[in-house]
Protein backbone atom coordinates (compact mmCIF):
# COMPACT_ATOMS: atom_id res chain seq x y z
CA UNK A 1 0.00 0.00 0.00
CA UNK A 2 1.38 3.41 -0.88
CA UNK A 3 1.93 6.00 1.77
CA UNK A 4 3.96 8.92 2.99
CA UNK A 5 6.98 9.16 5.23
CA UNK A 6 7.85 12.56 6.66
CA UNK A 7 11.40 13.16 7.80
CA UNK A 8 11.31 15.86 10.45
CA UNK A 9 14.52 17.37 11.74
CA UNK A 10 14.24 19.31 14.97
CA UNK A 11 16.33 21.22 17.43
CA UNK A 12 16.36 18.16 19.72
CA UNK A 13 16.34 15.12 17.47
CA UNK A 14 14.85 13.45 14.41
CA UNK A 15 11.29 12.24 14.05
CA UNK A 16 9.80 10.00 11.39
CA UNK A 17 6.07 10.32 10.71
CA UNK A 18 4.39 7.72 8.53
CA UNK A 19 0.91 7.25 7.15
CA UNK A 20 -0.91 5.30 4.49
CA UNK A 21 -2.13 7.12 1.39
CA UNK A 22 -5.20 8.44 3.19
CA UNK A 23 -2.90 10.50 5.43
CA UNK A 24 -5.45 10.62 8.21
CA UNK A 25 -3.58 8.68 10.89
CA UNK A 26 0.11 9.12 11.49
CA UNK A 27 2.61 7.01 13.35
CA UNK A 28 5.28 9.12 15.06
CA UNK A 29 8.68 7.55 15.75
CA UNK A 30 11.47 9.35 17.58
CA UNK A 31 13.36 11.09 18.77
CA UNK A 32 16.33 9.61 17.01
CA UNK A 33 19.57 11.26 18.14
CA UNK A 34 17.74 12.91 21.04
CA UNK A 35 19.23 16.18 22.18
CA UNK A 36 21.06 16.88 18.91
CA UNK A 37 20.19 19.39 16.21
CA UNK A 38 19.01 17.57 13.11
CA UNK A 39 19.35 20.18 10.44
CA UNK A 40 18.10 18.00 7.61
CA UNK A 41 17.21 14.47 6.56
CA UNK A 42 16.48 13.26 3.07
CA UNK A 43 15.93 9.96 1.30
CA UNK A 44 17.33 8.71 -1.98
CA UNK A 45 14.87 9.03 -4.88
CA UNK A 46 16.03 5.64 -6.21
CA UNK A 47 16.07 3.82 -2.86
CA UNK A 48 13.54 5.37 -0.47
CA UNK A 49 14.87 3.37 2.46
CA UNK A 50 18.32 4.93 2.09
CA UNK A 51 18.20 8.04 4.26
CA UNK A 52 20.84 10.56 5.21
CA UNK A 53 20.71 12.85 8.24
CA UNK A 54 22.78 15.82 9.33
CA UNK A 55 23.27 15.64 13.10
CA UNK A 56 25.18 18.36 14.90
CA UNK A 57 25.83 19.97 18.23
CA UNK A 58 27.63 22.99 19.56
CA UNK A 59 29.58 20.64 21.82
CA UNK A 60 30.38 17.69 19.61
CA UNK A 61 30.36 19.07 16.09
CA UNK A 62 29.03 17.41 12.98
CA UNK A 63 27.94 13.84 12.35
CA UNK A 64 26.32 12.29 9.31
CA UNK A 65 23.97 9.38 9.89
CA UNK A 66 22.79 6.90 7.30
CA UNK A 67 19.89 4.49 7.36
CA UNK A 68 19.27 1.59 4.99
CA UNK A 69 15.86 0.67 6.37
CA UNK A 70 13.81 3.83 6.16
CA UNK A 71 15.00 5.23 9.47
CA UNK A 72 14.45 2.25 11.76
CA UNK A 73 18.20 1.95 12.37
CA UNK A 74 21.05 4.31 11.70
CA UNK A 75 24.82 4.22 11.49
CA UNK A 76 27.23 7.13 11.65
CA UNK A 77 29.24 7.55 8.46
CA UNK A 78 31.93 10.02 7.50
CA UNK A 79 32.04 13.43 9.13
CA UNK A 80 35.31 14.81 7.85
CA UNK A 81 34.60 17.91 5.80
CA UNK A 82 37.84 19.55 4.70
CA UNK A 83 37.89 22.47 2.31
CA UNK A 84 39.96 21.92 -0.79
CA UNK A 85 43.33 23.69 -0.68
CA UNK A 86 43.84 26.89 1.27
CA UNK A 87 40.33 27.97 2.25
CA UNK A 88 40.92 31.71 2.02
CA UNK A 89 38.51 34.32 3.36
CA UNK A 90 34.99 35.59 2.91
CA UNK A 91 33.50 38.77 4.34
CA UNK A 92 32.43 38.93 7.97
CA UNK A 93 29.43 40.91 9.28
CA UNK A 94 31.57 44.03 9.56
CA UNK A 95 32.88 43.60 5.99
CA UNK A 96 36.32 42.49 7.12
CA UNK A 97 37.91 39.32 5.71
CA UNK A 98 37.19 36.22 7.75
CA UNK A 99 38.69 32.77 7.26
CA UNK A 100 36.51 30.01 5.92
CA UNK A 101 35.65 27.62 8.79
CA UNK A 102 33.53 24.51 8.58
CA UNK A 103 30.67 24.66 11.07
CA UNK A 104 27.87 22.29 10.07
CA UNK A 105 25.89 20.64 7.27
CA UNK A 106 22.68 22.49 6.51
CA UNK A 107 21.28 20.35 3.71
CA UNK A 108 21.77 16.89 2.23
CA UNK A 109 20.65 16.15 -1.32
CA UNK A 110 20.87 12.55 -2.52
CA UNK A 111 21.56 11.94 -6.19
CA UNK A 112 18.62 11.34 -8.51
CA UNK A 113 20.23 8.16 -9.84
CA UNK A 114 22.65 6.67 -7.29
CA UNK A 115 21.80 6.05 -3.63
CA UNK A 116 25.50 6.19 -2.68
CA UNK A 117 25.98 9.67 -4.10
CA UNK A 118 24.85 12.56 -1.95
CA UNK A 119 25.60 16.27 -1.86
CA UNK A 120 26.05 18.31 1.31
CA UNK A 121 25.56 22.04 1.58
CA UNK A 122 27.61 23.34 4.47
CA UNK A 123 28.37 26.41 6.58
CA UNK A 124 30.71 28.22 5.87
CA UNK A 125 29.24 27.92 2.42
CA UNK A 126 30.59 25.17 0.23
CA UNK A 127 29.31 22.13 -1.61
CA UNK A 128 30.62 18.67 -0.80
CA UNK A 129 29.86 15.34 -2.46
CA UNK A 130 30.15 11.76 -1.35
CA UNK A 131 30.06 8.88 -3.81
CA UNK A 132 30.44 6.12 -1.22
CA UNK A 133 27.28 6.48 0.81
CA UNK A 134 28.59 9.26 3.01
CA UNK A 135 31.79 7.55 4.15
CA UNK A 136 34.05 10.19 2.60
CA UNK A 137 33.37 13.72 1.41
CA UNK A 138 35.09 15.86 -1.18
CA UNK A 139 34.50 19.52 -1.80
CA UNK A 140 33.50 20.72 -5.26
CA UNK A 141 35.95 23.61 -5.06
CA UNK A 142 34.89 25.33 -8.26
CA UNK A 143 32.03 26.96 -6.38
CA UNK A 144 34.09 28.80 -3.78
CA UNK A 145 36.77 29.27 -6.41
CA UNK A 146 34.34 30.77 -8.87
CA UNK A 147 35.83 34.19 -8.17
CA UNK A 148 33.31 35.91 -5.93
CA UNK A 149 33.83 33.86 -2.77
CA UNK A 150 35.92 36.52 -1.08
CA UNK A 151 32.86 38.82 -1.33
CA UNK A 152 30.28 36.44 0.17
CA UNK A 153 29.09 37.23 3.66
CA UNK A 154 26.91 35.46 6.23
CA UNK A 155 23.24 36.09 6.76
CA UNK A 156 21.91 36.40 10.29
CA UNK A 157 21.89 32.62 10.65
CA UNK A 158 25.37 32.09 9.25
CA UNK A 159 26.80 31.62 5.79
CA UNK A 160 25.11 28.40 4.82
CA UNK A 161 24.63 26.63 1.53
CA UNK A 162 21.03 25.62 2.11
CA UNK A 163 19.47 24.64 -1.21
CA UNK A 164 20.66 22.08 -3.75
CA UNK A 165 18.47 21.46 -6.80
CA UNK A 166 19.51 18.66 -9.15
CA UNK A 167 18.12 19.18 -12.64
CA UNK A 168 16.36 15.98 -13.73
CA UNK A 169 16.62 16.84 -17.42
CA UNK A 170 20.25 18.01 -17.48
CA UNK A 171 22.34 15.48 -15.59
CA UNK A 172 25.25 17.88 -15.14
CA UNK A 173 23.23 20.92 -14.06
CA UNK A 174 22.91 21.84 -10.38
CA UNK A 175 21.48 24.97 -8.79
CA UNK A 176 22.53 25.93 -5.29
CA UNK A 177 21.68 28.85 -3.04
CA UNK A 178 23.69 30.47 -0.28
CA UNK A 179 22.67 32.92 2.39
CA UNK A 180 23.93 35.58 1.80
CA UNK A 181 25.64 35.15 -1.53
CA UNK A 182 22.84 34.12 -3.87
CA UNK A 183 22.11 31.48 -6.49
CA UNK A 184 24.81 29.71 -8.47
CA UNK A 185 24.55 27.21 -11.33
CA UNK A 186 26.87 24.63 -12.75
CA UNK A 187 26.37 22.94 -16.12
CA UNK A 188 29.33 20.59 -15.79
CA UNK A 189 28.55 18.71 -12.57
CA UNK A 190 30.25 21.16 -10.29
CA UNK A 191 33.49 21.95 -12.06
CA UNK A 192 32.56 25.53 -12.92
CA UNK A 193 29.87 27.80 -11.55
CA UNK A 194 28.22 31.10 -12.37
CA UNK A 195 26.32 33.47 -10.06
CA UNK A 196 22.69 33.64 -11.23
CA UNK A 197 21.25 36.66 -9.47
CA UNK A 198 20.27 39.10 -12.21
CA UNK A 199 17.05 40.85 -11.28
CA UNK A 200 17.42 40.42 -7.52
CA UNK A 201 17.37 43.54 -5.37
CA UNK A 202 18.34 44.22 -1.78
CA UNK A 203 18.15 47.43 0.18
CA UNK A 204 21.59 46.80 1.60
CA UNK A 205 23.21 46.42 -1.86
CA UNK A 206 23.36 49.81 -3.58
CA UNK A 207 24.96 48.44 -6.78
CA UNK A 208 22.11 47.56 -9.18
CA UNK A 209 24.47 45.26 -11.08
CA UNK A 210 25.79 43.33 -8.08
CA UNK A 211 26.42 39.71 -8.97
CA UNK A 212 26.50 38.30 -5.41
CA UNK A 213 25.56 39.27 -1.86
CA UNK A 214 21.88 38.33 -1.94
CA UNK A 215 20.19 36.68 1.00
CA UNK A 216 18.32 34.01 -0.92
CA UNK A 217 16.25 32.02 1.54
CA UNK A 218 15.11 29.17 -0.68
CA UNK A 219 14.61 28.15 -4.30
CA UNK A 220 12.31 25.49 -5.70
CA UNK A 221 11.52 23.84 -9.03
CA UNK A 222 9.02 21.43 -10.47
CA UNK A 223 10.83 18.41 -11.91
CA UNK A 224 8.82 18.47 -15.13
CA UNK A 225 9.92 22.02 -15.88
CA UNK A 226 13.37 22.58 -14.40
CA UNK A 227 14.02 25.81 -16.29
CA UNK A 228 11.36 27.51 -14.15
CA UNK A 229 12.53 28.36 -10.66
CA UNK A 230 10.78 30.03 -7.75
CA UNK A 231 12.56 31.88 -4.98
CA UNK A 232 11.85 33.23 -1.54
CA UNK A 233 14.37 36.01 -1.30
CA UNK A 234 14.96 37.72 2.05
CA UNK A 235 12.35 40.21 0.97
CA UNK A 236 10.52 39.49 -2.33
CA UNK A 237 9.20 36.32 -3.92
CA UNK A 238 10.75 35.80 -7.34
CA UNK A 239 10.59 33.52 -10.37
CA UNK A 240 12.84 32.72 -13.28
CA UNK A 241 11.72 31.25 -16.58
CA UNK A 242 15.19 30.76 -18.00
CA UNK A 243 17.06 28.53 -15.56
CA UNK A 244 18.00 31.44 -13.29
CA UNK A 245 19.51 33.62 -16.01
CA UNK A 246 17.21 36.38 -14.75
CA UNK A 247 14.58 36.84 -12.07
CA UNK A 248 11.38 38.84 -11.77
CA UNK A 249 9.32 39.66 -8.72
CA UNK A 250 6.01 37.84 -8.22
CA UNK A 251 5.15 39.01 -4.70
CA UNK A 252 1.87 40.49 -5.95
CA UNK A 253 -0.74 40.77 -3.22
CA UNK A 254 1.11 38.94 -0.45
CA UNK A 255 0.64 40.64 2.94
CA UNK A 256 4.42 40.62 3.34
CA UNK A 257 6.96 39.16 0.98
CA UNK A 258 9.43 38.19 3.70
CA UNK A 259 9.57 34.49 4.52
CA UNK A 260 11.67 31.38 4.28
CA UNK A 261 10.24 28.31 2.50
CA UNK A 262 8.76 28.09 -0.97
CA UNK A 263 7.36 24.93 -2.54
CA UNK A 264 5.79 23.79 -5.81
CA UNK A 265 2.73 21.56 -6.06
CA UNK A 266 3.63 18.01 -7.12
CA UNK A 267 1.32 17.96 -10.16
CA UNK A 268 0.69 21.62 -10.98
CA UNK A 269 3.92 23.39 -11.92
CA UNK A 270 2.31 26.83 -11.64
CA UNK A 271 0.91 26.24 -8.16
CA UNK A 272 3.29 27.46 -5.49
CA UNK A 273 3.21 27.96 -1.74
CA UNK A 274 4.87 30.43 0.62
CA UNK A 275 4.39 31.30 4.27
CA UNK A 276 4.66 35.06 4.79
CA UNK A 277 6.50 36.20 7.89
CA UNK A 278 6.10 39.71 9.22
CA UNK A 279 9.64 41.00 8.77
CA UNK A 280 13.32 40.23 9.13
CA UNK A 281 13.26 41.60 12.64
CA UNK A 282 9.95 39.99 13.61
CA UNK A 283 10.10 36.34 12.66
CA UNK A 284 6.44 35.48 13.12
CA UNK A 285 3.29 35.59 11.00
CA UNK A 286 1.64 38.97 10.43
CA UNK A 287 -1.20 39.71 12.89
CA UNK A 288 -0.50 36.48 14.75
CA UNK A 289 -2.31 34.54 11.99
CA UNK A 290 -0.54 31.53 10.52
CA UNK A 291 -1.39 31.56 6.84
CA UNK A 292 -0.03 29.63 3.88
CA UNK A 293 -0.36 31.57 0.66
CA UNK A 294 -0.96 29.74 -2.60
CA UNK A 295 -0.70 31.01 -6.12
CA UNK A 296 -2.18 28.88 -8.88
CA UNK A 297 -0.81 31.23 -11.52
CA UNK A 298 2.89 30.97 -10.84
CA UNK A 299 2.91 34.04 -8.62
CA UNK A 300 1.50 37.58 -8.72
CA UNK A 301 -1.93 36.52 -7.42
CA UNK A 302 -2.04 34.83 -4.05
CA UNK A 303 -4.78 33.45 -1.82
CA UNK A 304 -4.58 32.92 1.91
CA UNK A 305 -5.09 29.34 3.15
CA UNK A 306 -6.27 29.46 6.73
CA UNK A 307 -8.63 26.56 7.38
CA UNK A 308 -7.25 24.55 10.27
CA UNK A 309 -4.38 26.94 10.98
CA UNK A 310 -4.33 29.17 14.09
CA UNK A 311 -5.75 32.58 13.26
CA UNK A 312 -4.95 34.31 16.52
CA UNK A 313 -2.02 34.56 18.94
CA UNK A 314 0.32 32.56 16.73
CA UNK A 315 3.94 33.66 16.78
CA UNK A 316 5.89 30.75 15.39
CA UNK A 317 8.28 30.79 12.45
CA UNK A 318 8.64 28.34 9.57
CA UNK A 319 12.24 27.80 8.52
CA UNK A 320 13.52 27.47 4.95
CA UNK A 321 13.80 23.69 4.81
CA UNK A 322 10.61 23.02 6.77
CA UNK A 323 8.06 22.69 3.95
CA UNK A 324 7.54 19.79 1.56
CA UNK A 325 5.02 18.14 -0.74
CA UNK A 326 4.25 14.50 -1.46
CA UNK A 327 3.37 13.21 -4.92
CA UNK A 328 0.24 11.19 -4.22
CA UNK A 329 -2.67 11.81 -6.56
CA UNK A 330 -4.07 14.41 -4.21
CA UNK A 331 -0.95 16.40 -3.40
CA UNK A 332 -0.07 16.55 0.27
CA UNK A 333 1.57 19.72 1.58
CA UNK A 334 3.42 19.76 4.91
CA UNK A 335 5.26 22.26 7.06
CA UNK A 336 6.79 22.38 10.51
CA UNK A 337 7.09 25.33 12.86
CA UNK A 338 9.51 26.57 15.46
CA UNK A 339 6.71 25.86 17.93
CA UNK A 340 6.96 22.14 17.22
CA UNK A 341 3.82 21.66 15.15
CA UNK A 342 3.82 19.75 11.88
CA UNK A 343 0.79 20.62 9.76
CA UNK A 344 -0.51 18.57 6.84
CA UNK A 345 -2.91 19.32 4.03
CA UNK A 346 -4.18 16.56 1.75
CA UNK A 347 -6.27 18.84 -0.44
CA UNK A 348 -3.71 21.12 -2.07
CA UNK A 349 -3.65 23.41 0.96
CA UNK A 350 -7.37 24.13 1.21
CA UNK A 351 -7.43 22.76 4.77
CA UNK A 352 -4.84 21.80 7.34
CA UNK A 353 -4.50 19.52 10.32
CA UNK A 354 -1.69 19.19 12.83
CA UNK A 355 -0.02 15.78 12.73
CA UNK A 356 1.89 16.59 15.92
CA UNK A 357 1.77 19.68 18.08
CA UNK A 358 4.59 19.50 20.58
CA UNK A 359 7.85 18.49 18.94
CA UNK A 360 10.99 20.53 19.54
CA UNK A 361 11.45 23.44 17.14
CA UNK A 362 11.25 22.05 13.63
CA UNK A 363 14.26 22.74 11.43
CA UNK A 364 13.34 20.70 8.36
CA UNK A 365 10.60 18.60 6.80
CA UNK A 366 10.97 16.27 3.84
CA UNK A 367 8.19 14.12 2.37
CA UNK A 368 8.76 10.74 0.81
CA UNK A 369 6.01 9.17 -1.26
CA UNK A 370 6.29 5.44 -0.74
CA UNK A 371 5.28 2.84 -3.33
Amino acid sequence: MSGVRLLVGTHKGAFILTSDDKRERWDVKGPHFGGWDIYHMKGSPVDPDRLYASQCSGWFGQLIQRSNDGGKTWEPVGNKFVYDGVPGTHLWYDNTPHPWEFKRVWHLEPSLTDPDTVYAGVEDAALFRSTDGGQTWQELPGLRGQGSGARWHPGAGGMGLHTILLDPSHAERIFIAISAAGVFRTDDLGKTWRPMNRGLKAQYIPDPNADVGFCVHRIAMHPSRPEVLFMQLHWDVMRSDNAAESWQEISGNLPTDFGFPIEVHAHEPETIYVIPIKSDSEHYPPEGKLRVYRSRKGGYEWEALTKGLPQRDCYVDVLRDAMAVDSLESCGVYFGTTGGQVYASIDDGDSWNPIVRDLPAVLSVEAQTLP
Partner: protein, 98 residues
Protein backbone atom coordinates in the same frame (compact mmCIF):
# COMPACT_ATOMS: atom_id res chain seq x y z
CA UNK B 1 44.16 0.11 31.61
CA UNK B 2 43.00 3.70 31.11
CA UNK B 3 39.54 4.62 32.31
CA UNK B 4 37.55 7.28 30.42
CA UNK B 5 34.21 8.75 31.35
CA UNK B 6 32.44 10.19 28.33
CA UNK B 7 29.61 12.72 28.38
CA UNK B 8 26.18 11.10 27.97
CA UNK B 9 25.68 11.99 24.28
CA UNK B 10 28.98 10.38 23.35
CA UNK B 11 28.23 7.27 25.41
CA UNK B 12 25.02 6.94 23.41
CA UNK B 13 26.84 7.50 20.15
CA UNK B 14 29.52 4.92 21.02
CA UNK B 15 26.98 2.44 22.47
CA UNK B 16 28.76 2.20 25.81
CA UNK B 17 27.50 2.21 29.36
CA UNK B 18 29.57 3.57 32.18
CA UNK B 19 33.32 3.87 31.81
CA UNK B 20 35.34 3.09 28.72
CA UNK B 21 38.46 1.05 29.50
CA UNK B 22 41.32 1.05 27.02
CA UNK B 23 44.87 -0.18 26.68
CA UNK B 24 47.16 2.68 25.69
CA UNK B 25 50.57 1.88 24.30
CA UNK B 26 53.54 4.04 25.23
CA UNK B 27 53.29 7.21 27.24
CA UNK B 28 49.83 8.08 28.47
CA UNK B 29 48.97 11.54 27.17
CA UNK B 30 45.83 13.26 25.96
CA UNK B 31 46.84 12.47 22.40
CA UNK B 32 47.58 8.79 22.99
CA UNK B 33 44.39 8.33 24.98
CA UNK B 34 42.25 10.01 22.32
CA UNK B 35 44.04 8.06 19.56
CA UNK B 36 43.21 4.81 21.35
CA UNK B 37 39.65 5.94 22.04
CA UNK B 38 39.01 6.87 18.40
CA UNK B 39 40.56 3.62 17.19
CA UNK B 40 38.21 1.58 19.34
CA UNK B 41 35.23 3.86 18.73
CA UNK B 42 35.63 5.43 15.28
CA UNK B 43 32.21 7.05 15.49
CA UNK B 44 33.74 9.46 18.02
CA UNK B 45 36.16 10.92 15.49
CA UNK B 46 35.59 14.63 15.23
CA UNK B 47 33.35 14.85 18.28
CA UNK B 48 36.06 15.49 20.89
CA UNK B 49 38.79 17.06 18.79
CA UNK B 50 38.85 18.46 15.29
CA UNK B 51 39.87 15.81 12.77
CA UNK B 52 42.21 18.14 10.93
CA UNK B 53 43.71 20.44 13.56
CA UNK B 54 43.44 17.92 16.42
CA UNK B 55 42.35 20.82 18.62
CA UNK B 56 40.00 20.06 21.51
CA UNK B 57 36.47 21.16 20.69
CA UNK B 58 35.73 24.49 22.33
CA UNK B 59 32.94 23.32 24.65
CA UNK B 60 34.64 20.18 25.94
CA UNK B 61 36.96 19.97 28.92
CA UNK B 62 39.28 17.26 30.27
CA UNK B 63 39.47 16.62 34.02
CA UNK B 64 41.32 14.04 36.12
CA UNK B 65 42.50 13.82 39.71
CA UNK B 66 40.54 16.97 40.51
CA UNK B 67 42.58 18.95 38.00
CA UNK B 68 41.47 20.74 34.84
CA UNK B 69 43.79 19.32 32.20
CA UNK B 70 42.02 20.92 29.26
CA UNK B 71 44.78 23.30 28.38
CA UNK B 72 47.69 20.95 28.93
CA UNK B 73 49.74 20.15 25.86
CA UNK B 74 48.42 17.11 23.95
CA UNK B 75 51.70 15.25 24.44
CA UNK B 76 52.17 16.10 28.12
CA UNK B 77 52.04 13.01 30.34
CA UNK B 78 48.78 12.56 32.19
CA UNK B 79 48.92 12.04 35.98
CA UNK B 80 50.25 8.67 37.14
CA UNK B 81 46.89 7.87 38.70
CA UNK B 82 45.32 8.10 35.22
CA UNK B 83 48.13 6.11 33.62
CA UNK B 84 47.71 3.31 36.14
CA UNK B 85 43.93 3.33 35.94
CA UNK B 86 43.49 4.37 39.56
CA UNK B 87 41.63 7.49 38.46
CA UNK B 88 39.51 8.02 35.35
CA UNK B 89 39.82 10.89 32.94
CA UNK B 90 36.58 12.79 32.52
CA UNK B 91 35.57 14.34 29.20
CA UNK B 92 32.97 16.92 30.15
CA UNK B 93 30.67 19.10 28.10
CA UNK B 94 30.88 22.72 29.20
CA UNK B 95 27.74 24.07 30.79
CA UNK B 96 26.46 26.56 28.27
CA UNK B 97 23.07 27.98 27.52
CA UNK B 98 20.12 28.39 29.85
Amino acid sequence: MIRIILPPHLRTLAHVNGEVKLEVKGQVTQRSVLDALETSYPMLRGTIRDQVTQQRRDFLRFFACQQDLSNELPDAPLPDAVATGTEPIFIVGAIAGG
